[in-house]
């Protein structure tokens, strides 16, 4: 997994609540057997007409945001399905940080497995960053995971909370499976006790 420590980039505003995984990556792109290549279809139905032409209004089609690396969004971002294609599509587009007042659980969890930092902030802080991100090419935001701070374009700082274990995994790009396999003896012990419940 790619490490995530610091990020300075353009923040794009997506001022919508309940952005669901069908919006992030519609089902017709889930037929792939790979993780890569989904960025071109990120937000496909909001980004392109049925004929495949860009919809100029959509934030990621606007010149200032075509290289956005951060997304600022409304409540309950990522609700819906468990498809990890959603974080894969964000990452493949170049977005590795999403800031919102709240996230759906499965999506939130999936982000950390892919080197994406989802940041939960109080609504007033999100509102401030949403305003900042509406400044187009001047909407540069810096994120420092180590110190858990966000610096806006005016230099104002906002701090955020993140689970210590997940933070460490992101900072070091640690592979969960490798970490769990270090506990193989504990899994062996647990499975040995399962013999008492043959039906399991």
């Amino acid at each position: 997994m790619e490490k995530f420590d610091k990020l300075t980039g353009i923040a794009a505003p997506l001022d919508i609540i309940n952005v669901d995984t069908d919006m992030i990556i519609p089902k017709q792109f889930l037929k792939t057997i790979q993780r890569s290549g989904l960025g071109k279809n990120l937000f496909d139905e909001m980004r392109y007409t049925p004929e495949g032409d860009e919809i100029a209004d959509f934030v990621l089609n606007q010149p200032a945001y075509r290289a956005a690396q951060i997304l600022v969004a409304g409540d309950n971002f990522g609700c819906g399905s468990s498809r990890e294609h959603a974080p894969w599509a964000l990452l493949d587009f170049g977005i590795s940080c999403v800031i919102a007042p709240s996230f759906a659980d499965i999506f939130y969890n999936n982000c950390f497995k892919n080197g994406i930092l989802p940041i939960v902030l109080p609504q007033e802080d999100v509102d401030k960053l949403m305003d900042d991100s509406k400044r187009g090419a001047n909407a540069t935001v810096s994120i420092d995971l180590e110190s858990q701070t966000i610096k806006g374009p005016d230099g104002g700082e906002i701090s955020f909370e993140v689970d210590a274990f997940r933070k460490q995994c992101l900072l070091e790009g640690l592979d969960d499976i490798g970490l769990t396999l270090q506990k193989a003896a504990a899994i062996d012990d647990y499975e040995a006790r399962l013999d008492a419940q043959a039906w399991r």
């Binding site: 001022d15 919508i16 609540i17 309940n18 669901d20 069908d22 919006m23 519609p26 089902k27 017709q28 889930l30 037929k31 792939t32 057997i33 790979q34 993780r35 139905e45 049925p50 409304g74 409540d75 309950n76 609700c79 819906g80 399905s81 468990s82 498809r83 990890e84 974080p87 709240s102 996230f103 759906a104 659980d105 499965i106 969890n109 999936n110 497995k113 892919n114 689970d163 210590a164 274990f165 969960d176 499976i177 970490l179 769990t180 396999l181 506990k183 193989a184 504990a186 899994i187 647990y190 499975e191 419940q197 043959a198 039906w199 399991r200």
Partner: protein, 473 residues
């Protein structure tokens, strides 16, 4: 004195290791796999030179983009090359890694969340995961069941565990008796309407109360299935005699002395008297009407005899904007009576409502008339076994005589990955679980309803209050 909740009990029984930071390693008893969220996980195992730790604890079946027609030709006859490749990849991965697989032409093939319980793969007190958010369905048996991402699918295959933070406890008491024609689907929609689509985020829901006890296992599956639409990864119903009766003699259920030992243990699986819940609400089932969604979030519910809401009456800016956006997408005007909303399509199926009881309820309505000329309606059974049973009961003939399409099992138009989808602007009465923008096809407009409400809408060409229909009949 405080007690423990059902969720706490299952959690504690599966704890392999607990870290000081609150993250735990949880043992996973059962893992369901389908074609869409697994290829990258198997590829990950292959690249790391890892193999499944306990392959017999995983069961695989293709459901998401399998065709619901033209099944006789097998894999070779699937028109869409990408769908075909994905199903072929699943078959090959199962063969390579020694995983049990229910093939396309097997009578047991079906939607993972229908096939798992049918096989007795789903049992009370277990931890069950699948790369699909509707894994919450299995909570109907008192199993801790939730959706996971593909990285976690790989993690479970490699280690038979998951790294988890503990959720909070939320009990939803549904008291009283549900009136006639108020189904598990209506109860689920009512709960989501009440707590909102993020109301359950961070919680495991436990459904309790006499209206829940009164539900059949099919009904409990419908209810738990929709937990994720309230933001909760998992929902639970404490197992009881109905649960045991459903499971007894299923192919993978324990037998003989193992069965007796299992039931003895399962009977302990309930929240203790005095157990503390972080959150609790009570809903009176007797007050509930049949419901229909008007918008693009499952929380956008209204009684079938109600009207499309007026966004200008909503104070909260985010909600108002979302409502305006939803009405625009849905092509609806504020104040329109829901029963005047005409539909083009009907979909009866999905992991929410494709089991035998659902089909019986829909057929009971279907036999009272014919599908309206302006409507295209389809019924997609949840599994080959459901289809077989429905045909034994003659339900297929009722549907076909009324003008419904009778299809092969799969996820079908719930998520429209296969050829079954809405055209832009088409409006559908659907027994599925999500009414998101584009969910059933780009530009498609989805209204979530119960199977009998869907069947009634098919006949009338618009939504109807099923209670009136019965009174007339």
């Amino acid at each position: 004195m405080t007690g423990t909740t059902l969720y706490d009990k299952i959690w504690d029984a599966h704890l392999v290791a607990a870290d000081a930071d609150g993250n735990s390693l949880l043992y996973i008893d059962r893992h369901l796999v389908h074609e869409v969220t697994s290829p990258q996980a198997f590829e990950g195992l292959r690249m790391a030179g890892r193999s499944p730790r306990a392959p017999h604890k995983t069961l695989a079946v293709a459901d998401h983009n399998i065709p619901t027609t033209n099944r006789a030709g097998g894999l070779a006859a699937i028109d869409d090359p990408e769908s075909k490749l994905q199903i072929e990849t699943l078959e090959n991965n199962c063969a390579e890694f020694g995983i049990d697989y229910l093939p396309m032409d097997d009578i047991r093939q079906g939607i993972v969340h229908v096939a798992g319980p049918e096989q007795g793969f789903t049992l009370p007190g277990l931890t069950i995961v699948c790369g699909d958010s509707h894994t919450s369905t299995h909570g109907a048996f008192g199993a801790l069941a939730h959706g996971i991402g593909t990285s976690e699918v790989e993690h479970v295959l490699a280690t038979q565990t998951l790294i988890q933070g503990k959720a909070k406890n939320f009990r939803i008491n549904v008291v009283g008796d549900a009136p006639a024609h108020v189904t598990a689907k209506d109860i689920a929609l009512a709960i989501i309407g009440e707590i909102g689509t993020a109301g359950g985020t961070g919680y495991v829901l436990e459904y309790a109360g006499e209206a829940i006890e009164a539900l059949s296992m099919e009904g409990r599956m419908t209810l738990c299935n929709m937990s994720i639409e309230a933001g909760a990864r998992a929902g639970l119903v404490a197992p009881d005699a109905k649960t045991f009766e459903f499971l007894k003699d299923r192919p993978r259920a324990p037998k003989g002395a193992d069965w007796e030992a299992a039931v003895a243990y399962w009977q302990t699986l309930k929240s203790d008297e005095g157990a503390v819940f972080d959150k609790e609400i009570t809903i009176n089932a007797a007050d509930l009407p049949p419901l229909v969604t008007w918008g693009t979030s499952p929380q956008d519910v209204i009684a079938v005899d109600g009207h499309v809401p007026d966004p200008s009456a909503i104070a909260d800016e985010g909600r108002r904007k979302a409502t305006e956006r939803a009405l625009d997408y849905m092509g609806l005007s504020a104040g329109t009576p829901m029963q005047e909303v005409a539909i083009d399509r009907v979909f009866i199926g999905s992991c929410t409502n494709s089991r035998i009881e659902d089909l019986r309820a829909a057929a009971a309505i279907a036999k009272t008339g014919k599908v309206a000329a302006s409507v295209n309606a389809m019924v997609v059974p949840g599994s080959g076994l459901v289809k077989q049973q429905a045909e034994e009961e003659g339900l297929d003939k009722i549907f076909i005589a009324a003008g419904f399409d009778w299809r092969e099992p799969g996820c079908s138009m719930c998520l429209a990955m296969n050829a079954d989808k809405l055209a832009p602007g088409e409006r559908c009465a659907s027994t599925s679980n999500r009414n998101f923008e584009g969910r059933q096809g780009r530009g498609g407009r989805t209204h979530l309803v119960s199977p009998e409400m869907a069947a009634a809408a098919a006949l009338a060409g618009h939504f109807v209050d099923i209670r009136d229909l019965k009174a007339e009949g």
